[in-house]
């Protein structure tokens, strides 16, 4: 496929679509035009199953009238298509006396894929296939008990422009590259699985800086180590979570409850608590879309605001929530650059970028040594939260018993369950190490890439949902 660098849509056409959106009244009209191309390769059972390419191009238009938002989208980027979508979105402006309004767009900084060294679209498809063949070989050579390996590769380039009736006109060009390996090992007690991935907001240079063999070996060893796993304990125990991998805990236990769409509906345990001590004084929590080239990093959010570093909790005290345009306007403040959407098919909402707890003072080895018994979580899978109660779960996909301050036997997969505010208060050790891992966050059916980070931390008492007596 050839890549066109021409503007997605003529700004004058967007201006006219915005005017059409406000013809029946309304406070804000917005046009979001997106062009997304992607390539993916899957290898499974020693075979490259398929190489797949996709192209989506279209626009979403929203019109905000008081407390009400109307939304429509179209794959037709002609002036007629955009105006029709704008009129459909304006249907919520019932009996509005808006009349014609002028819209003059002003240029805002545009994000560029300038950090990207090797655009994936310039890389031969054969090279993408080879990565997976190397990963398959590396995973299988990790141990004879590895009986199955699957691997996937994907890259995407997402260009968008977004404009609104306040005159905002911005855009971004986001390139992402990722690969992952899933290994199955077979032993006397059945099958075990291991997964590892690599995902950054960069181009194909990802694989100059990182080894696919190392990713594959990590997945394989995770499955192999679990072959001797015992049933996980059942009940409340101290849990030490390895740097990076527990970022999902922070994301679920706390991050979602700090998104302004739930706090302004009073559907969060953190609503109305700015200035209060909501976590252990050891905890400083940040959401930062500008950090390095992590999976949740990008220049401009999907409402045209630059991403920034937002301190949410400082030394345990709740400082602020995360905001998108809609919720910020209602409060007479600025968006924090957290307005995101999966694609032009979706309305934006408040979403996290890279969310992490800052490193602390404790030596990670000392944290373990000072934990007489408990569970050491080396890797977490997915998780979810009920923001109303703060109850959350997350799955342990690599975990061990801690006995006499040492990591001992591996344990089988199980969920941890806790209550966000309780867990944040009971963090009693924060390591001096740090890492951020990639994840995919789902909310109201929309998926967006995020980063989750943390140092090694100890939580003094989480419920482990295993089957063995604790």
């Amino acid at each position: 496929m050839s890549i066109t660098e021409a503007p997605l849509v003529d700004p004058a056409v967007i201006e006219r679509a915005l005017v059409a959106g406000l013809r029946r009244g309304g406070d804000l009209a917005e046009v979001f035009v997106e062009d997304r191309r992607s390539t993916s390769v899957s290898l499974d059972d020693r075979r490259v199953e398929e190489l797949s390419s996709g192209h989506d191009r279209g626009a979403g238009v929203r019109v905000v009238v008081g407390e009400t938002t109307g939304f429509a989208h179209t794959a037709d980027l002609s002036e007629a298509g955009l105006v029709a979508a704008a009129e459909a979105a304006s249907a919520v402006a019932r009996g509005g006396g808006g009349g014609v309004r002028e819209v003059a767009l002003e240029g805002r900084p545009f994000g560029r894929a300038e950090r990207v060294e090797v655009l994936p679209e310039t890389v031969p498809k054969r090279s993408k296939v080879e990565l997976l063949e190397r990963a398959d070989a590396a995973a299988r050579s990790s141990g004879s008990a590895v009986v199955q390996v699957s691997a996937h590769y994907a890259d995407s380039r997402r260009r968008f422009v977004v404009a609104n009736s306040d005159g905002l006109f911005a855009g971004d060009d986001q390139v992402r590259t990722q690969m992952g390996v899933h290994a199955v090992a077979s032993g006397d007690a059945g099958l075990q699985t291991g997964y590892e991935n690599l995902a950054r907001t960069v181009g194909f240079e990802l694989f100059e800086r990182n080894s696919v063999e190392a990713v594959a070996a990590a997945a394989a060893h995770r499955a192999l180590r679990k072959l001797d796993a015992r049933p996980a304990p059942s009940g409340v125990v101290p849990v030490v979570i390895k740097r990076g991998s527990g970022g999902i805990l922070v994301h679920e236990a706390c991050g979602h409850g700090l998104e302004a769409d739930v706090t302004t509906k009073d559907a969060s345990v953190y609503a109305g608590r700015v200035g209060e001590q909501v976590a252990s004084p050891l905890v400083t929590l940040v959401d930062d879309g500008t950090l390095g080239d992590f999976w949740g990093t990008f220049a401009v959010d999907d409402e045209g605001n630059a991403t920034q570093r937002n301190v949410l909790i400082e030394n345990g005290v709740l400082g602020d929530y995360m905001w998108d345009v809609l919720r910020a306007r209602k409060q007479g403040r600025r968006s924090s650059g957290n307005g995101r959407r999966q694609s032009y098919h979706h309305l934006p909402m408040v979403r996290m970028t890279n969310t992490y707890v800052l490193a602390g003072q404790d030596d990670p080895d000392e944290i373990l040594a000072q934990t007489p018994h408990g569970v050491y979580v080396a890797r977490l899978g997915g998780g979810s939260v009920n923001t109303t109660t703060g109850d959350f779960v997350f799955g342990m996909t690599e975990a061990y018993l801690i006995e006499d301050g040492k990591i001992t036997a591996p344990i089988r997969d199980a969920n941890l369950i806790g209550n966000g505010p309780d867990v944040l208060r009971s963090i009693d050790a924060v390591g001096s190490d740090f890492d951020v891992l990639p994840g995919t966050c789902g909310k109201d059916g929309q998926l967006v890439p995020v980063g989750c980070g943390m140092p090694t931390m100890r939580v003094n008492g989480v419920t482990v949902g295993g089957t063995a007596g604790a």
């Binding site: 190489l51 797949s52 407390e67 509906k265 109660t389 799955g395």
Partner: protein, 447 residues
């Protein structure tokens, strides 16, 4: 409006000598309304359409999609799929399916009246739902979402192997999440109703369920860890059956990734347990005349008398296993290639209604909601551990509410410990049916 089957056939007809081409063309119109505090919070009307093309040459498959129905888009997708086919590993089992002569079921999945239902009526339903939840109980503090949504979808598939099929369906749904509060405590609960046209929706029931589930959790505490009998509410059962169905995919079995691999003919469940995937049942939201490769859907029994009978197959997995397709190809839409999946899984219902199951169980835990089912169930090892909330059962009656706990077992063990299957069959959007289900000997982890 362009005819989808015509587009698909035009693309399939472009197959060159020595190659096979399949085109899947989909179009979907969705309306979503969210009510909040007596007003519309958002109204979204969206139409999505696109084409997915598979090309097979010399046992190699390539795929490409485009989010458009234009000729230009179709040409781009076909060219790209052809190019992609060159990079796959050759495999004798790869190929498009041949029509197999099975007659498709006649199903009523399309209700014209949904197309002509005015948007104002849909808005009114969402507003009415929110009002009823708020009015249901003085302890309802907030309704975080009261939604109406519907989907009107059409799809067509054609291939150079002679497949030519099209289908269409309508679905609509209302769902509300209520927050009940007393003092500083808040609890939430969900209620819903689904149908194929607006007249099928029971807004009162959705509102009442949301309010009941939120209010009855007020005062919930973390229970002591114990081994218990759990009684799953229908929506929870549907999630569990959906996961079990995934482990019965013939493809996962062939690839050594299923806990049921090599176990056909064995007792995998309690005697009398019957599990079937039956997309020919028009009551199922997953009912379909054709699968995602264009074969007629059929009834596939999976477990009978507690014995595992077999697995689900699409064309590729069937050829590889030396059997025939069970017409179980599914796809997420025009953006993905077909894979094996269930559409309408159900257990054979028992005789007891929900109250009867509670009475029969006597002591246990009613689970009204689970979280973390995607992270807490390993379809390969069978390990099962999810967060749960619900109400303890004492003397066959609901007693005190409980939360912040997990329930854990394994899929293998749970099927061997099914105590009662309720008679209260409830079809929900998704690949599985719900009903009250009691399972013995589950580890509850709490305080």
């Amino acid at each position: 409006m362009p005819d989808l089957l015509e587009i698909a056939e035009r693309i399939a007809a472009q197959a060159a000598s020595g190659e096979d081409v399949e085109a899947y063309v989909g179009r979907q119109r969705e309306t979503e309304v969210r009510a909040y505090e007596g007003d519309i919070e958002s109204l979204s009307v969206a139409e999505t359409a696109g084409i997915g093309v598979r090309v097979v040459r010399d046992g190699r498959q390539g795929f490409a999609y485009v989010g458009s129905l234009s000729d230009e888009g179709a040409t781009e997708a076909l060219a790209e799929a052809r190019d992609n086919a060159g990079f796959a590993t050759a495999d004798e089992h790869v190929g498009l399916v041949e029509p197999d002569g099975v007659v498709p079921p006649v199903l009523e999945l399309w209700r014209e009246e949904l197309l002509s239902t005015p948007t104002e009526d849909k808005v009114a339903l969402a507003l009415d739902l929110e009002r009823r939840v708020r009015a249901a109980d003085p302890r309802i503090r907030q309704v975080t979402g009261a939604d109406y949504s519907d989907s009107i979808s059409e799809a067509a598939i054609a291939s150079s192997r002679g497949v030519s099929a099209s289908s269409r369906r309508t679905v609509c749904y209302v769902g509300a999440e209520a927050v009940a509060g007393e003092g500083s405590e808040s609890q939430n609960g969900y209620g819903y109703s689904a149908g194929r046209a607006v007249a099928d929706l029971d807004v009162g029931r959705a509102a009442g369920d949301a309010a009941l589930r939120a209010t009855r959790l007020l005062g919930a505490h973390k229970p002591q860890s114990a081994r218990v009998t759990v009684v799953l509410e229908p929506r929870v059962t549907a999630s569990l059956l959906g996961i079990i169905a995934r482990t019965l995919s013939g493809e996962e079995v062939l690839k050594g990734r299923s806990l049921f691999a090599g176990r056909t003919g064995e007792d995998v469940g309690v005697p009398g347990l019957e599990l079937v995937d039956d997309p020919t049942n028009g009551l199922a939201f997953g009912a379909a005349a054709f699968d995602a490769e264009g074969l007629a859907c059929r009834r596939n029994p999976l477990i009978e008398g507690g014995k595992l009978l077999g697995y689900l197959y699409d064309g590729y997995a069937a050829r590889r296993a030396g059997t025939t397709s069970t017409a179980s190809a599914v796809r997420a839409g025009f953006r993905s290639t077909p894979g094996v999946g269930a559409r309408a899984v159900t257990l054979r219902p028992g005789d007891l209604d929900a109250e009867g199951v509670l009475a029969a169980v006597g002591e246990g835990l009613l689970v009204q909601g689970v979280i973390g089912i995607h992270s807490g169930v390993n379809a390969v090892s069978g390990d099962f551990s999810v967060g749960a909330e619900g109400v303890m059962i004492r003397g066959g009656e609901l007693a005190e509410p409980v939360r912040e706990m997990t329930i854990a077992s394994s899929i293998q063990r749970m099927l061997q410990h099914v105590a009662h299957v309720g008679a209260d069959v409830e079809w929900l959007p998704g690949p599985a049916c719900g009903m009250t289900l009691a399972i013995d000997d589950v580890a509850l982890s709490g305080a």
